[in-house]
Symmetry: C2
Subunit: 621 residues, 2 copies
């Protein structure tokens, strides 16, 4: 039954051999990999205005030049990534590029920054997407955290079905979003040209009154840093090159160019409209929603715009659901993360990574109560840190290889590295107290975890792997049964009997022990021992403090000392296996406790004791 | 280290033999067992006024007669319980009395009602206690849930140290509370007599305006039902008779009389003062706090009153921490609850029951955001249900025994049963939509759980216990080693080697299997098998869908069918035991999964397969 439900929900298992067929066409890849980047136009302009509005209407006009600077930066970084795509046809995420060219530490820093960013991508996109819905239907505002969590579940479901099908599910909404934004910007500009569009009725900003901040270079930099969220997600294509159809790099490169062209023009268009229509950010409605109401007049087109904005934002989270598990699996393969993250599930996706991302993002959404603005300051640090490390890595690569034209290539990536590095400093400096400090703590913490995991797997290999030329004494072991066996029990029943019989079948030296917690029940056990003629010695251990574990441990240590040549005694425990899962709560509590204590306590000589549960299965009456 | 921390916190383990000395003097017993009952005067009057205020100032005057009716009821029920104390010197809680005299089902209903009530006692008392603090310091209001949880932790700590010491810790505050309430009531009455006390400055209630409810018999009954919370906790002494010094029943009976006298006069006194001073319930300050401010003038005495009220209320929760675990252990002993609830801990208290109660009450406090008023409607149903069942049980008992004077005794308990039964109906009817419905659902649900647990333990006994005269074939087993052993592994390392060597030591028929998830690693395993000259057969299992578990299960089933005379094959798994706990996340995921699947799936003939983990311990490098 469990398996058939699974199949209905996520589809039948796929054979390993089917993996290569799961490739994306350019059209589908654009939808999958660009939803993160494109969707940021839904909030980036608003984040710029939110800072500028603090300094009054004079500052407000600066949104246009700031948008142009960001678009210029976008082009520089894209050209840089175009080179990465061709340099790393097998997928050139920041981790791989930094790790290969700059060394282990920069690679791990990039990986940490990326993992954090993927989580934030999900949280920011989902909250902004639900924000688009609550802008249109303010009565849903109290439910926004619930709606966010629902959206995350939906995406998890799509992704567990596998990458090709999620392409099919997600391609359509991306193009619908493009259509409505084209209509919005085109329609807006047209109506402005013929003079049929008026300014939005929002509260006017004072020109330069008291109580506002002074327009400083500092404020402009903060506005710029906030607007840089428009650049999030553009690295997605370079991470995902192997998911493209052959020739992978060419197709990925073309897709990147198309994506940047669309992104740049949409961002400039929205910022222009926001400025010209005099839109001011308010708490309950997004800037795009305000523009939409004005241009479309609040009718069906407006609601379609909001719906498609919500869609693309929710789907933007999907980019992270493709990238986070992939990066986690690469880290796991390299021994920096738990190995189970490298396992592909039934449907050829990294199920554990998908689950981990969903849980972390869900926690963020709940902690920040579904508020996009409070998540934004956390967001850009990781993005620009990984941008910078990735470009710097490419510069090193060109320098080391010294191929034809390497100087130009290195110069392009160098320009990218320097510009994103400068932005990184601006972002950290201007957003530090707003939450960036948290990321500055998290990144070294994550890197420490990566190192500790790596160290541990290394230690394990050293201790567990066999040495070249080692000789295994097989013949020595044949036919030897050297084990001392101890069977703790409380009463003589069928479960105890099964354990005793198994013990007898593997050793001639079996001792049963009872911990004397209750004198009457110990006596009953001794009586039945006689009555049934059990020919195994029974030892009763005193326990004045009613502990079962401590007297038993003392007994085992004592026994081991008297037979140190044979290794620690084996403990065989009777275990009741009930017919239904909840009935487990009613059994084996002492057995569980005993087992945990015995496993984590060394027996002598630094080896662990073997503990065997002999199951006795109950049936429904 | 862990043990020594434990000792500092909860004290050294106590010997079983010390149990009998943990008896309470009457003075200490009054403090322990009466804090619940006495503390209810801190909120009972307020609950009456909260209902009456709905019908204007005319209705408001009814608080005095209602208080007298409740006090009369209190006396009736106490006389009834006095008889129970002498009838059941070994402790006559409602469960025992109802179970013994009315049968299994009424007994379980009483038990369910009591368990729910103990949880509510903790939740109500703690929230009201913290309410006394926030009445005096309104700036603490936002932290009240945190303060409630802190108070619960404090009580848990006291209780885990054991009953005698908790008597010592808790006796003092109860008497301090009595002192300050005596000062409050005495001082208030005195100042009224000499005319130096004025009415409280609270918003006046309209005499009978529109928008208020009509003063109906219905409203009076609701006020009465709310006031009946004053009676909660009076059964505590009859439950705890064996904790008294000898002669137990006499001492317990005397303590009950003293308690009821104090409780009745305090309840009447507070209600009288509230009425005379014209106190009206408000959201941010309790009625007692308002009276206190007026009588004491808001100085040091007032703060001491609030502190002692908070103390007794927080300690009232302590009654439940003595009773809940005791009842749970009785239910466990009778086979209606999980057996681990019957285990006494190091310090001769039922640690599991204490922990369960604390968690449940904590959840309630969080769910109801620390608000006493919203918890009250849930509270009385269970109290009066168990009162009624207990008195009715006593009636049956007298009738069955027909001792001297049984008619009078039966009449007394009968009067108690009928009055509490009537109150129960009133409470259910008038509070149903306010939350009583939840209790009406929970009680049958709990009874169902009790029955299911009982049924399961019964089934288990039938299947597990040996039959009289059964013969155990010991001789047949001696020296026989019939097991087929299967060792699944992924690579040949020291851990795998330890498993293979153990397998060889218990059987001559060992097969190693590898699931071919990755062709290259399977080939490496085969190569090292050759290189190290392992003379155990190695079988590779195909797995096109990358599942490790399914091919292995298929192989085991196939193997078992070909050797059905020997029982299911034993599976021996290598297991890495890391030096630090967090490193477990990095290992044995497949082993765990395999073990769970094998345990819960029957091998053939309805028996479970024996699965043995052979631990290989890692050391810190």
């Amino acid at each position: 039954m469990a398996i058939s439900w699974r199949q209905v929900l996520v589809g039948s298992p796929l054979r390993t051999a089917e993996h290569v067929h799961q490739r994306l066409t350019k059209t589908k890849a654009l939808a999958i990999f660009s939803s993160d980047a494109l969707s940021s136009v839904a909030y980036a302009t608003e984040e710029i205005l939110l800072v500028l509005v603090l300094a009054g209407s004079v500052a407000y006009k600066l949104s246009i030049p700031i948008a142009f600077v960001i678009t210029g930066l976008l082009v520089i970084v894209s050209v840089s990534y175009y080179q990465t795509i061709h340099g790393y046809p097998s997928g050139g995420g920041s981790y791989i590029v930094a790790h290969e060219n700059l060394g282990v530490w920069p690679g791990l820093v990039a990986a940490a920054a990326l993992l954090i960013d993927y989580v934030l991508t999900v949280a920011v996109s989902i909250t902004a997407g639900i924000g688009a819905i609550t802008s249109a239907f303010p009565e849903l505002l109290p439910w926004r955290v619930h709606l966010c969590l629902l959206a995350i579940l939906l995406i998890v479901w799509g992704n567990l079905r596998g990458v090709r099908e999620s392409g099919a599910v997600f391609a359509m909404p991306t193009y619908v979003f493009l259509l409505f934004f084209l209509l919005l910007i085109g329609g807006g500009v047209l109506r402005l040209a013929i003079g049929s569009l008026e300014s939005v009725q929002t509260p006017a900003i004072p020109e330069r009154p008291g109580g506002l901040e002074i327009l400083s270079i500092w404020l402009v930099l903060r506005a710029f840093a906030s607007g840089c969220t428009a650049m999030t997600g553009i690295e997605a294509i370079s991470d995902g090159v192997p998911a493209f159809q052959k020739p992978e790099s060419d197709n990925a490169g073309k897709t990147l160019i198309v994506m940047i062209a669309i992104l740049g023009s949409m961002f400039l268009g929205i910022t222009f409209l926001a400025h010209t229509l005099g839109v001011v950010p308010v708490a309950h409605e997004s800037v795009v929603s305000q523009i939409g109401r004005q241009v479309f007049g609040g009718g069906l087109l407006y609601f379609a715009l909001q719906a498609s904005t919500a869609m693309i934002l929710v789907l933007a989270a999907n980019t992270a659901f493709a990238d986070f598990p992939r990066l986690a699996s690469i880290l796991a393969r390299d021994g920096y993360a738990p190995r189970q993250l490298a396992n592909m599930g039934d449907r050829l996706v990294f199920s554990n990574g998908i689950a981990a991302l969903a849980i972390l993002a869900g926690v963020l959404v709940v902690l920040f109560r579904g508020n996009t603005h409070s998540l934004i300051p956390l967001y850009s640090v990781g993005v620009f840190l990984s941008f910078t490390l990735s470009q710097a890595g490419m510069v090193c690569r060109w320098y080391k290889r010294q191929e034809d034209g390497w100087r130009l290539k290195a110069a392009i990536n160098g320009l990218g590295a320097v510009s994103t590095g400068v932005v990184l400093c601006v972002v950290v400096e201007s957003k530090f107290t707003h939450g960036a400090w948290l990321i500055m703590l998290l990144i070294p913490a994550l890197v420490t975890v990566f190192r500790a995991v790596h160290q541990h797997y290394g230690d394990m290999r050293e201790q567990v792997f066999l040495q070249e030329g080692e000789v295994i004494p097989w013949s020595h072991l044949k036919g030897v049964r050297p084990h001392k066996v101890v069977v703790p029990l409380a009463s003589l029943n069928r479960a105890a009997l099964a354990a005793l019989q198994f013990a007898r079948s593997v050793s001639d030296d079996v001792t049963a022990v009872v911990v004397d917690v209750d004198a009457a029940s110990t006596q009953r056990l001794k009586d039945s021992w006689e009555a049934w003629g059990v020919d195994i010695p029974l030892v009763a251990l005193e326990s004045p403090y009613r502990s079962v574990v401590r007297p038993l441990l003392a007994y085992l240590e004592h026994t081991d000392q008297h037979a140190s040549d044979r290794g620690p005694a084996i403990v065989i425990l009777p275990e009741i296996v009930p017919a239904r899962w909840w009935q487990n709560l009613l059994h084996n509590q002492t057995t569980l406790q005993l087992k945990a204590v015995l496993l984590f306590r060394e027996a002598h000589n630094g080896v662990s004791r073997i503990v065997i549960n002999v199951p006795y299965r109950l049936h429904d009456a």
